[in-house]
Symmetry: C2
């Protein structure tokens, strides 16, 4: 349903920010961009430069004159604000709101509306919104760059949409028997090379076991560690041979 | 512990990105920035322009010649990568890793390391990292702008640090008795103005009750809705008077 999320930018001052928005949208699979009376006194060169591989989003943008035109067909109109104050205290974080907004997006377009770089959304624009988001920040500097604000909202919606398939380790995780065999081989090797005495072996092996358990070892990892022990074993025996 | 998070940028090509990083760091309360052999052929004017109110972070930066100098005192060295491939399959998302990284940061500096805009981190740099992060993206365009990548990581660490105090509604949520009284007043009014007949009243009031329950009403909200009903009631009676 993330494709039903529309990004609406109101009166944007700098086209570089529009480019950043396009890139961020492309990063998270969004394509629907509407500009409301963009100012962009700096021309459009910066937009292309910052969009990089988000150029298709930039080219597919629509430009309209008014807020109402941008959102008239939307089932939810979600304003964003860094300021608190009158009519703005019911803000939620993007993370809190994302699942509900995606559910709404299954029924039609959901507009995420971002105001001007210097003034944000005006009160009469906030009044047109069905939802208000505020990105959590530290208290000293709450104003987030426009492109970065869009990025964070798109990121939260993307994650909430479960679109992300995390990469898998190719090697399967090691099984208990495999890990146990590893410890046996290491015990033999550590005794042989004189790292520990037989009396101290149980105690020392607890330490080794703890080290090997700090991360999730794969079968490949266990095989490598076994190889180390076997080679140390071999080298120690070869060295011990009478020359 | 978020103040123990260090941002390390390797061989950055564009100073504007360094400025964006400074702003993002300031947004989330980070101050420790180390640049490793920045290229910045575009000079430093762009850095100040993009840092905006993150200028103190920019001014407080340290510049060193090598990766090792940047991280030598760190208890964890966390690489970031958009690419998958050899030595990179054990990546975790910033959200997954954030609590553990903050726990480590309670014992010393934790470096988050970001590579060049065009090539990211090299294999021998990845090999120096104790952890690897990959920001979840769509599959079509996985390369995130440097400033935006830092922003997302800082944001996740900030949220995991529980530093954010969400704003509260000033008015307390309405209590059940208050809401019940609201419905009684509306029932009387809706009957009086002829919106519904007495036979249909129970059924219609279920619809009204549902509408009033879609959001969390505050006491102020309930008082406003009561005022509407009382005024409609008054206006209907006044109108009904013989003229």
């Amino acid at each position: 349903m993330i494709s039903n999320i529309r990004i609406v930018l109101i009166g944007t001052l700098y086209s570089g920010n529009i480019g950043s928005v396009c890139r961020a949208m492309a990063n998270f699979g969004l394509t629907d961009l509407v500009l409301v009376s963009p100012v962009c006194a700096d021309g459009w060169a910066e937009a292309s430069k910052f969009a990089v591989h988000g150029a298709a989003v930039l080219e597919g943008r629509r430009t309209v004159a008014t807020f109402d035109e941008a959102v008239s067909d939307c089932v939810a109109v979600v304003g964003t604000t860094a300021r608190l104050g009158l009519y703005r205290q019911h803000v939620r974080t993007p993370r809190e709101a994302a699942p509900g907004l995606l559910a709404l997006a299954s029924g039609g377009s959901v507009a995420l509306v971002f105001g001007r770089e210097d003034k944000g959304l005006l009160n009469d624009e906030v009044a047109r919104c069905t939802h208000l988001l505020r990105i959590p920040t530290g208290t000293d500097y709450t104003s987030i760059n426009l492109g970065q604000a869009v990025l964070l909202c798109a990121y939260e919606l993307f994650l909430a949409s479960d679109s992300y398939a995390p990469p898998c380790e190719k090697a399967p995780p090691a099984q208990a028997a495999h890990r146990l065999r590893l410890l046996e081989i290491w015990r033999e090797m550590l005794l042989l090379i004189g790292f520990m005495t037989p009396e101290k072996a149980d105690h020392m092996m607890q330490g080794i076991q703890r080290i090997f358990s700090r991360g999730a070892l794969t079968t490949d990892d266990v095989n490598i560690l076994m190889g180390v022990a076997r080679q140390a074993d071999w080298a120690a025996r070869a060295n011990a041979k009478p020359k």
